[in-house]
Symmetry: C2
Subunit: 189 residues, 2 copies
């Protein structure tokens, strides 16, 4: 089965006619490692499905990059506020690996929202994204960078291998040197 | 106009028949200051609308309270993962002020999700909550407690007056004494 349909049907069953409409409105692209899907200050005009690859969201804070979170395929993504309100994005979205990305325009997504199935799917995935964001927030509020690193190592060990050290450090909110120290200490214990 | 209807119509227009159904399924209650709407470990069985008052979400981290965020009336709230998956909540919800709260059960909310208007409303408000959560996450990742306090003071000065010092400190991730110091310094400057 098509990977986009398969992903949607994890959340919401689709009739063949609804799927035909969805398939017709999405287009797929290849994106190279390090390429930007969105730059801060631009309006995000698309809703995306990441079929393959890994992305990061980051902001520039006084010349320092802060990585907000990662999107791991297969998953949907966009710069939500920018996409919904047509305002300049406050964040960058960058591919960390070569990626395959499907996209749909704001207007075409609105057409799909007329379908009950798509509306349900959109609500469910937004809820899940909200849950993930809350989880990261809770960790940041209550755990040290070392605790967060160990948790990631246990829960998402293979993901950690795919993220460059500098980017992982900017997600944990520490200097790359501090991350090296934590890694050495973990490897010893 | 009824405050619940007024709130929903900020996001999504309602036909009179849809409103009748919504009104019929919600019940309103009074909650006293300091009362718990939800305790960690319990299943959150309701979706709520806070008509009046102020709430906080908090977790207990090794005996220390960590305040995740606040809900300011009028707004919708629930413990999302617990409510959707019927799993024990990982957080507490407590009234900081006397409150008026409307509630609807999981089953009745599912009935409402059959309405296109309610489904659209649920999707839009979930998106907004996601946006607020991301904003707090971004601040936590890139700003100091002092910066966050000053920002709150400028954007939500009246809210700060309503939150007890100890709770505000547990939201900023600092000791109450450190918050007192920041406040004295701000008052002088």
């Amino acid at each position: 089965m098509n990977s986009l349909r398969k992903f949607i049907e994890r959340y919401q069953s689709l009739s063949n006619s609804d799927w035909k409409m969805i398939e017709h409105l999405f287009k797929s692209n290849s994106v190279n490692k390090n390429e930007f899907i969105l730059r801060e200050g631009k309006i995000c005009r698309k809703l995306y499905f990441l079929e393959k690859g890994l992305l990061r969201y980051f902001i520039d804070k006084d010349g320092m990059e802060v990585t907000k979170f990662f999107t791991i395929a297969p998953y949907f993504f966009t710069s939500q506020v920018s996409f919904n309100n047509k305002t300049p994005a406050k964040e960058n979205i960058q591919a960390i690996e070569d990626a395959i990305i499907w996209e749909i325009s704001y207007e075409d997504n609105n057409k799909l929202l007329e379908l009950k199935s798509w509306n349900q799917f959109a609500r469910k995935i937004t809820q899940e994204v909200q849950f993930f964001t809350e989880e990261i927030l809770e960790e940041l509020q209550s755990e040290t960078a070392t605790d967060r690193y160990i948790k990631m190592l246990n829960k998402q060990g293979d993901l950690i291998q795919r993220i460059p050290q500098k980017i992982l450090a900017s997600y944990l909110g520490i200097a790359p040197q501090s991350l090296s120290r934590i890694r050495r200490k973990q490897a010893r214990s």
